[in-house]
Symmetry: C2
Subunit: 143 residues, 2 copies
Amino acid sequence: MKDRDFDNDLAQKGLRRTRHRAAVLSILEQSQQPLSAEEIFMELKAREMPANLSTVYRILDVLTSNNMLQKLNITGGKSLYEYNRMVHRHHLLCLGCKKILAIGSCPLGDFEKDLAKKTDFSIEGHKLDIYGYCPECRKNDSP
Amino acid sequence: MKDRDFDNDLAQKGLRRTRHRAAVLSILEQSQQPLSAEEIFMELKAREMPANLSTVYRILDVLTSNNMLQKLNITGGKSLYEYNRMVHRHHLLCLGCKKILAIGSCPLGDFEKDLAKKTDFSIEGHKLDIYGYCPECRKNDSP
DNA sequence: ATGCAAATGCAAACCTTTTGCATTTATTTT
DNA sequence: AAAATAAATGCAAAAGGTTTGCATTTGCAT
């Protein structure tokens, strides 16, 4: 299985193509879950492409401000990053095992229009996270 | 204008009634905006009831875990706390001046039911924050 | 190949929040 | 009302995540 050409994506944004940047993109593109800076740091090491943690943060910053990644602050603790697939997404977090499911649908459309009318704000976006227990955690916790 | 009896509220929760705790509750009950630990720290000083910042954090923790306050992590930066008025609320944050408006309505009801059905999660709650520009900031930024 | 601007590594700083411990305070017990 | 006890506070230090300054290395244009 061939890797996507992240080098090209970087070039299109006018960003320098470094192994580390391409690797971070690849890691996040392949990940089912949003990852923290430290998880990415460890995965880079696992891929024999170790980078300094501060470099990871700088890469995440630059990729986020170029809209190639999205930064999530679901927990209040450490930030998580996910590959930006350019679709509007929300997240369902399991309070038990902390796994995160991406949710494609969004119920906010009309609500935002109403809100704009009522408050006279221009609405630019929203952040919606949903919390619950996944099927596995519910099974394990109800003996 | 007489203060609410926060001492009684504390007693009902089985918490010790200290001046600082009552003052923190009073500050947040009177505030239009959610406040950070440091803002509360400063307001305590202004009220001639200075407390150590770590004490403020401990008070906020204990009041939050007793449901007297709610902790918000809107920005990803520092946590904000608001008096828990026992109603489901969301927040509209102005990206310009950072002011926060509390929103009473919530469009999530049916969506959560659908989601529970689709994912087999038990849905326990959600966090919805909306971002935009308030009327004042829109005016000032469009010269 | 050469030069320059940008990316990286490293260590230290930063900021918010938490913790350990001695002291003070609120509440319970006598 | 005083003494005993358990919890709250102050203080300083640590923790955890993230950022920054600076020397070195790398990517890219010339």
